[in-house]
């Protein structure tokens, strides 16, 4: 409820950026890409594509080897099982840690991304 309220009050919409650094014929995920100059990893989940920052905020484990869990709603770093929600990036078993997450959409064969919150 409060989230809807916050959404409706939002004045400026977060901008979409074309993802770069992806091979045009890429069909394999996870895949590395760049969004507005920032390195991200695109994950294929049951509900579509999702972007996350490239390395874990704990000790920089690569999210290319991350594991999707909890029906693809969370992502787990392979190094020390630090686990984050894909909805908002909040640490699940590591309070105070946050992984940057990104919405990803496809339009006419081009992938766009924007940060969540």
């Amino acid at each position: 409820m409060s989230q809807d309220l916050a959404g409706s009050l939002q004045v400026t919409e977060r901008p979409w950026h074309v993802l770069t650094g992806l091979r045009a014929d890429n069909t394999k995920f996870p895949a590395r890409a760049k969004l507005d100059g920032e390195g991200i990893v695109i994950l294929q989940t049951k509900t579509g594509l999702r972007g996350v920052q490239r390395s874990c905020p704990h000790l920089q484990g690569t999210m290319m080897n991350a594991e999707l869990i909890a029906n693809d709603t969370m992502v787990r770093c392979p190094l020390h099982v630090y686990t984050f929600k894909l909805s908002d990036g909040k640490g699940v078993n590591c309070p105070g840690f946050r992984l940057k997450v990104y919405e990803i959409k496809e339009e006419n064969g081009v992938l766009f991304g924007r940060s969540v919150s």
Partner: protein, 503 residues
Amino acid sequence: MDPVTGSLTLKGAHVLDPEQGIDRVADVHLADGKIQFVGSRELTPNTKVVDLPGHYISAGWIDIHVHAYGTLGFANPDTVGVYQGVTTFVDAGGPGIGVLDQFMELLDNLETTLYAGAFIRPMGLLGLNFIEGDVRTLGEVPITRWVDFAKQHRDLLRYIKCNAIGDYGPGTLKLTKGLAEILNLPLYMHIGEFQLQNPKHLLAPEAFRIAEAGDMITHLYHGNLGQVLDESGKVLPIVRDAERRGVIFDLGFGGYNFSWDVAEKAFAQDLIPHMISSDLQQFNVVRPVKSLANVMSAMIRLGMTLPQVIERVTRNPAQALSLVDRAGSLKPGLPADLTVFRVETGAYEISDCYTKVRKAEKQIVPVLTFKNGKRFEADLAFAQEESNWFLQIAEDHVPSRARALSERQRSFLSALAARLSSINWELSSAERLDIEKALELQEIFHEVRGKQGLPLKDALQSVYASFLDQNFTMQIGLLLLRLERPFALQRLRDVSGQRPMAA
């Protein structure tokens, strides 16, 4: 502990007991939860026999460094205890003086004997980069409380721990050494900077300077800043000096603290830990640590003999912890704590905490554990179950166990919610974790509990049951701090208003 009656003979295994110089096939006789003797005798018809050819038997393994309690702990610490061949373990820094009461109340029902290696910080060890290296997070060191606690619970405390990391000089180490001297306990120091820190002045050498005979230094073979080797790979003279003085070195494998490169270079120069410990915690049990047995297998791969390995999980830790009157050997009259294991041959891989993997031909596998004569089948997969190590708040549902709370517990939760409604808190980031606030929330918890006259254990369980499906045991102030305030207050009210389960 359930009393175990009757006698039992473990027959035909290879017995290793460095304390008594036993290294041969022999029978081990147990009676009424104690060890009778090792050797041959005529068996009476009433004696139960377990045939164990092809197995080894040693005294029950002692793991001097695990994390059973707090932010690093497990839902069921016995999974890394008796179910992995370990009959005695020490929580390495989980509780500080501010939470030792919680530690005692919550972990009094384990099958494995648990001791406290108490931490210098009142809240205990948090394991966060940004907190451990900052001297300001130490808070106060209440000497009076420490002395009084130690007088009352002498048996529980086995060492005082601090971390030799950060950029504030050796003051913390000296302060902890001072406390350890006051309490007449050994000092136990972690070496190795956490990866994100890059201090100008390394504290690891200071740890080797400050430690005296009987003090312990853990993570001997770590590969971070502050190693035991110099840049050319040679063991530092200061490490040798400490060893000569009688300082005890511990392995402490952990999720950050074991490097094959360092281990191999140091081992080749005869720098060998006196004790083998796992540093098992919720963040490293899946990989790379897995079990104390896996760490022991790594030491076989490194070049230790099997008797050397067994000595380092039995006699040596028993001596270092002053437990020789009750553990670490198969001497007649000692509690019947034993580990039955196999040494399997095959093609294995053992990872360090970085990227290095070594192929190994031998693997130590625990099979049976006896604790005061009570038998447990080893189960290495038990600890790996996600529910045992994945600590998450039940945000979208009230844990079913909250239904079992008593009227008094629910009334306590209601009072706690009312009292907390006038307090603000927020956990904005791990870097800015506000330990003072966590202590304040904890004080409020105790204040409300005191007014309600609710026993500590009942009060703790009522909060855990409101937020956690599993039986984790986090410091209560930290648990509250990590919850989002509106959610926490609402959940406490919801649970306090629930109708209890029909009897």
